[in-house]
């Protein structure tokens, strides 16, 4: 017992004061891309290089669909003009699928729940996690929120062991054919009102697996309330998405 206490002192206090203090992200971290259409000569090398067809050319210029983007940086790499630049902005979550389309317009963060819902869920959100073909990276970086660095519990958010105890589901993975039924049953078992949160490119669009006959291109027959893009999203991207959604961060 004494040994454990001494260890406790040695290990120190490690919870990061998020969101009061912004997280320190690695130098090479790739967050929200910034697009400079004025430099673009329409060579389209970026869209050819993209492994997931996330780059769309429209009249307005380059648009990157963060719902598909795996943040590999290939587009930035092949563009000699510097039209695409990945910033360190980790706040990527959105409540509207359209808001994941990044172009030169201003970023739009996830909208908070309405006041009535905030009253119910703002300080207590219980989620059931369903991995539906995820590679265990989105799962791992969701799970890590429970460690003392992020301490998800202090926001009243908890992952629970039964859908009956849950206010919603957090889905990862491209929704394989073999998980489609289990996902549906889990969703049905959650009492209403309930939320669906899609974490990662796979859950939003199928990611790299989009178009495989073995998968369903993400969550597409249940309405998604919160999209958290990335491959996988950084834990702070997920945490930011959750608390912004609950109206605890603007």
């Amino acid at each position: 017992m004494i040994k454990a206490l001494i260890s406790r002192i040695k290990q120190g206090y490690r919870t990061y004061p998020f969101p009061a203090k912004e997280p320190v992200l690695p130098e090479r971290f790739k967050g929200r891309p910034i697009i400079h259409n004025d430099k673009c000569d329409n060579c389209r090398k970026c869209s050819v290089a993209c492994p997931v067809n996330a780059i769309i050319f429209e009249n307005a210029g380059i648009t990157i669909d963060l719902g598909k983007c795996v943040f590999c940086g290939q587009c930035q790499e092949v563009c000699s003009k510097g039209c695409i630049e990945f910033s360190k902005d980790y706040r990527l979550a959105a409540t509207d699928r359209q808001d994941l389309l990044v172009n030169e317009k201003e970023r739009k963060l996830a909208a908070a729940l309405n006041k009535e819902s905030q009253k119910i869920f703002g300080h207590s959100l219980k989620l059931r996690q369903v991995s539906a073909g995820g590679c265990n990276a989105c799962e791992a970086d969701t799970n890590v929120l429970g460690t003392l660095v992020f301490d998800l519990g202090r926001f009243g958010i908890q992952f629970v062991a039964s859908p009956r105890h849950a206010d919603g589901i957090l889905v990862t993975g491209p929704v394989t054919n073999n998980m489609k039924e289990a996902l549906r049953k889990t969703y049905d078992a959650v009492p209403a009102p309930k939320f669906v949160i899609a974490v990662g490119a796979c859950a939003i669009s199928g990611g790299i697996y989009n178009g495989h006959s073995e998968v369903n291109n993400g969550v597409n027959d249940i309405k998604i309330d919160l999209y958290i893009p990335g491959c996988p999203p950084h834990p702070y991207t997920i945490l930011d998405g959750l608390i912004t959604f609950l109206g605890r961060r603007s």
């Binding site: 590999c72 991995s131 590679c135 990276a137 799962e139 429970g146 394989t176 039924e181 289990a182 889990t186």
Partner: protein
């Protein structure tokens, strides 16, 4: 071994035409006799020649000599199963049956492993497409008034990948556990053939997302073997650092999770945090905690400058100190040891018979590690000691991880001090036609094997991935026999196998 087997070194290629084509009887006899002589089945897979004729190719490992042996046979319809004489073939034969409708006659346990449509016009179980649903198969049942069955999954109580477990219990005692997977099946291998090559890396990085570096390294090595290019030493060092950081993070996380499963919270919470510190070190390399977009065929994408090296060294030393403190809490706490020791015991002979790999095998006293037996890249120049323990229980699987944490940290610190100058990548050449290439790396879960075949146009015509979990799931099932069902989480965590790496 002349005409019956083709010898090949790890991370090398050979002409497909040089792979012997035996009769199926000779093929069987060769495998059975070689496994009796202590060779191991690394992979056994089918390559379709026509809709009916399938070429079975086996890769056998001679761990003592560090040589791989290949041989093959063509089959159509059915053949006499290897499994009754060679249990290592068990899971592979099920995979071949499911993929190509080839029946291994006399297989004692012939059931689907991933629940997908056959790749040929024949289904091994004569199911129509709409009858193929996950977990719908015969399960082994123990009958009797006092027997009850516990069914768990696919969705689990925590944040865990999906899998289905069926326990046959007498009271608390588990008589038998059957594991049914396939929920994560995304069709990666099938898509590797014909996919644009800018997608390959993404598939490999997400084959098992917690083993991004391990799988991507094996993939890059296979392509490099096919193209016949050699990698700058600096890139080899960087790859080694990334692979060991991945091991550090996952082993540390596993020690924490094992502590959590027995309710020993100090180590559980310390290690949960330290694991993240190691992941953040990988993020210094490439910006991503899982090592995404760090490796590419020909070398690495990013380099380290002296500032990064100093930062890594500092963080690594601090991380090692913290994990040492956290791990020692385990080894010196009697209540922890009494839960770890003699729980989930696997005998060395059983582990060998089943063909287990990685820390799970080493914890049974099998001194086999790819980094040593089949050294490639930087491991040819700097060896990492093979960590083994003899007791085969949860304690052994935990302790081997702790030994490996220390070895990996020492390896990285050495590499950081002696990293040679030079470039970090070479331009990859065109991959060569009509070849077969094999690359094995020692991921944190064990041996990862990638095999690629090319056609006459120099395109990938077949791609095979063997995740260590493919060898090891059966080990977990066997370990549960005569355990209390309440020890399942602990035993499961002590293996910590991949669902998506298995399901692909």
């Amino acid at each position: 071994m002349g005409r019956q087997l083709l010898a090949i070194y790890n991370c090398n290629s050979a002409d497909i035409s040089a792979v012997p084509r035996l009769s199926i009887n000779d093929f069987r006899n060769t495998i059975i006799s070689k496994v009796d002589e202590n060779l191991r089945i690394v992979s056994l897979f089918g390559v379709p020649q026509t809709d009916e004729i399938i070429q079975l190719i086996v890769v056998l490992a001679d761990d003592r000599q560090g040589i791989l042996y290949l041989t093959s046979a063509e089959v159509a319809g059915s053949y006499q199963s290897l499994t009754p004489d060679c249990p290592q073939a068990h899971w592979f034969e099920r995979e071949i049956a499911e993929q190509y409708g080839i029946i291994p006659q006399g297989h004692p346990w012939l059931k689907p492993i991933r629940f997908h449509n056959s790749y040929t016009s024949k289904d091994a179980w004569n199911r129509s497409s709409d009858m193929i649903r996950p977990g719908i198969t015969d399960f082994f049942r123990v009958e009797g008034k006092e027997i009850h069955e516990v069914s768990v999954g696919p969705v689990h109580a925590g944040i865990i990948e999906p899998g289905h477990f069926r326990f046959q219990c007498n009271g608390e005692n588990v008589l038998h556990l059957e594991i049914s997977l396939g929920y994560q099946h995304r069709g990666i291998e099938r898509q590797m053939k014909g996919a644009a090559c800018n997608r390959w890396l993404q598939y490999m990085q997400t084959a098992a997302g917690d083993t991004t570096i391990g799988h991507t390294l094996a993939h890059c090595s296979v392509l490099e073997a096919l193209a016949g290019c050699s990698i700058p030493v600096r890139a080899q060092v960087l790859r080694g650092i990334a692979l060991e950081l991945e091991r550090l993070a996952n082993h540390t996380g596993d020690l924490g999770a094992l502590a959590g499963d027995i309710g020993y919270l100090p180590t559980s919470s310390f290690c949960g945090r330290i694991r993240g510190d190691f992941l953040n070190m990988t993020a210094i390399l490439c910006g991503n905690r899982f090592g995404r977009n760090f490796l590419k065929p020909g070398g690495t994408i990013y380099d380290l400058d002296s500032k990064h090296i100093d930062d890594l060294r500092l963080r690594l030393k601090a991380g090692l100190k913290d994990v040492e403190n956290a791990a020692n809490c385990l080894w010196t706490t009697p209540t922890v040891l009494s839960r770890f020791e003699d729980t989930g015991v696997l005998a060395k002979e059983t582990a060998k018979e089943l063909g287990l790999v990685g820390p799970a095998a080493r914890a049974c006293g099998l001194d086999y590690d790819c980094r040593y037996n089949f050294a490639s890249g930087i491991y040819q120049f700097q060896q990492v000691p093979v960590a083994t323990w003899h007791s085969g229980d949860v304690f052994a699987r935990a302790y081997v991880r702790w030994l490996e944490i220390q070895h990996s940290a020492e390896f990285i610190l050495n590499q950081l001090d002696t990293i040679p100058d030079g470039s970090i990548s070479v331009n990859t050449k065109q991959i060569t036609a009509d070849k077969i290439a094999i690359a094995m790396t020692e991921g944190w879960r064990g041996e990862i094997c990638h095999i690629a075949l090319t056609n006459s146009k120099g395109e990938i015509s077949h791609y095979k991935v063997v995740d260590p979990s493919f060898h090891n799931w059966m080990g977990l099932a066997v370990v549960l026999r005569n355990q209390q069902i309440s020890d399942f989480p602990l035993c499961n965590k002590s293996f910590n196998l991949s669902y998506c790496g298995h399901d692909l």
